[in-house]
Amino acid sequence: MQIKSGTCMPVWTSAATSEPGRVSILPLRRALKPAVFLTSLVPFGLLIVDFVFDRLGAEPIEEITHRTGTWGLTFLVITLAVTPVRRLTGWNAVIRLRRMLGLFAFFYVSLHFLTYIVLDQFFAFSFILEDVAERPYIMVGFASFLLLIPLAVTSTKGMIRRLGRRWTQLHRAIYLAAAGGVIHFLWQVKADTRRPTIYGLVLVTLLAARLVNVSKSHGR
């Protein structure tokens, strides 16, 4: 079975795809998801290990903030890369990883947010409100985090079914959240903009790939 363009065919249907003629690779397919799951936990595991062994440096809170933020943005970008990778390679099984990767993005972004609220500010809400209201980079980061919440909430099969077409529309907001993440990063650094710029370029490329595909399928 050939999956058509994501804009007209809901991608999650591929999760049920299994062809009688390709039974031999089934064990490998089954292992893919748990393997990616465990790999995605590695940055979190390293954070715990480094914390326990006091290897987070002189300013552990800053280190935790930076690591969780970086991984949140990285997983957002990886999630957005799933569909282009599938189109480019024809490897349809990869689509089954998308929801999980997206939820890992939410996991790391949530840790990043909680690190700020609990470890960095220690619930000093007057300072937190001032930050959110007056510091553009925090405002953008906070908005992007808020934007991810409905996406995580509607990631269940039941929600996908219930929302139908609107689910696809809603979940396009991940581009906005990722762009917000890049801007948050860019506005936070002092002089060295290399890393946020790289994230920005990758994101623009992924978005371009998507737009090219949309215009193609509309032309058909």
Partner: protein, 312 residues
């Protein structure tokens, strides 16, 4: 060796050398002292004046020395990379001898000084200073050096000299961070002449009783404790006396965010973050930032009548 100390630092605050080489031991003993002082029963036993005195002592105790390991592994020194750990990793390529400091501009005695001749100018003193970074973290560091004024007097500024500019070494071979134009190299900092002559402004050669580690600005740097850390320029090779106010590197990079004065001021926020509080390295909760980093009594008069919101 003559050891003089600034008035706000008690002798008792300077940690025994044996203690500060062992971080865990140091932290354990330090927390023991703090906990002992903060015990409510002790405070309750004191009368009013005594309580005030105890509170004062506790404020002083709050300035426990930042462990040597943290002072030397968490650095902003973009000449060796922009990550805080880069300087301690890569500063080994800096050659600190031979080293000369060129003095020029509005002085009667311009010339090239060998670092070892500068060192001999005056006895080294130990000064325990708070260091407040513009990024809202802080440390307490025992430095060795002498007042910059001792040096300035020898080179005899002319009557036209109103400002002093300092330049860091520019050599991408020794300073790999300079291979990319992250900042407009060489790093430049400046002071008004009265700020440069202020006794707290320290020409610094060592910390924790040792020669400055390369990542901390070897072999010669400034420490200006009432200003944000970026003013305390490292690895100085050139001192220029000027009639006009120079443009310092960070001001050139982002004039809206970094000014010429850069005095620590909890009431004037950086456009991107609050300066009202700071995290002392090694502590969990943030603490309020003090005006002029707690040195208002010594330096406040130099800025009397100035609009500190404009001259940030």
């Amino acid at each position: 060796m003559l050891i003089r100390r600034p008035p706000d630092i008690e002798t008792s605050e300077i940690t025994d050398e044996k203690l500060y080489w062992n971080r865990r031991e140091f932290i354990r003993s330090a927390t023991g002292v703090v906990a002992g002082l903060a015990t409510p029963s002790v405070l309750a036993a004191c009368g009013e004046p005594r309580r005030a005195e105890a509170a004062e002592r506790r404020a002083a105790r709050d300035d426990e020395l930042t462990p040597y390991e943290d002072v030397t592994s968490y650095n902003n020194f973009y000449e060796f990379g922009t990550d805080k750990r880069d300087p301690s990793r890569y500063a080994g390529s800096l050659r600190i001898r031979p080293w000369t400091v060129t003095v020029e501009g509005e002085v009667h005695k311009p010339g090239v000084w060998d670092i070892d001749d500068v060192l001999k100018l005056s006895p080294l003193e130990e000064r325990v200073y708070r260091l407040r970074c513009v990024e809202a973290w802080s440390m307490v560091i025992p430095w060795q050096g002498f007042s910059l004024s001792e040096f300035i007097k020898r080179v005899e500024p002319t009557s036209h000299a109103r400002f002093v500019a300092f330049y860091t070494l520019h050599d991408p071979e020794q300073m790999p961070g300079q291979r990319r134009r992250i900042l407009d190299w060489p790093y430049v900092e400046g002071l008004r002449l009265d700020e440069a002559m202020h006794p707290l402004t320290l020409l610094t050669f060592g910390l924790y009783g040792r020669t400055l580690p390369n990542q901390n600005g070897a072999p010669i740097r400034l420490v200006i404790p009432w200003k944000y850390g970026f003013k305390s320029i490292k690895s100085i090779v050139r001192v220029r006396f000027l009639r006009e106010q120079p443009v310092n590197t960070w001001q050139a990079e982002a004039a809206r965010e970094y000014g010429f004065y850069a005095n620590v001021n909890p009431n004037v926020d950086h456009p991107r973050w609050s300066q009202a509080r700071e995290r002392r390295i090694g502590e969990f909760r943030k603490r309020p930032t003090l005006m002029f980093n707690g040195y208002a009594d010594q330096v406040g008069h130099m800025y009397a009548g100035m609009d500190l919101r404009r001259n940030f």
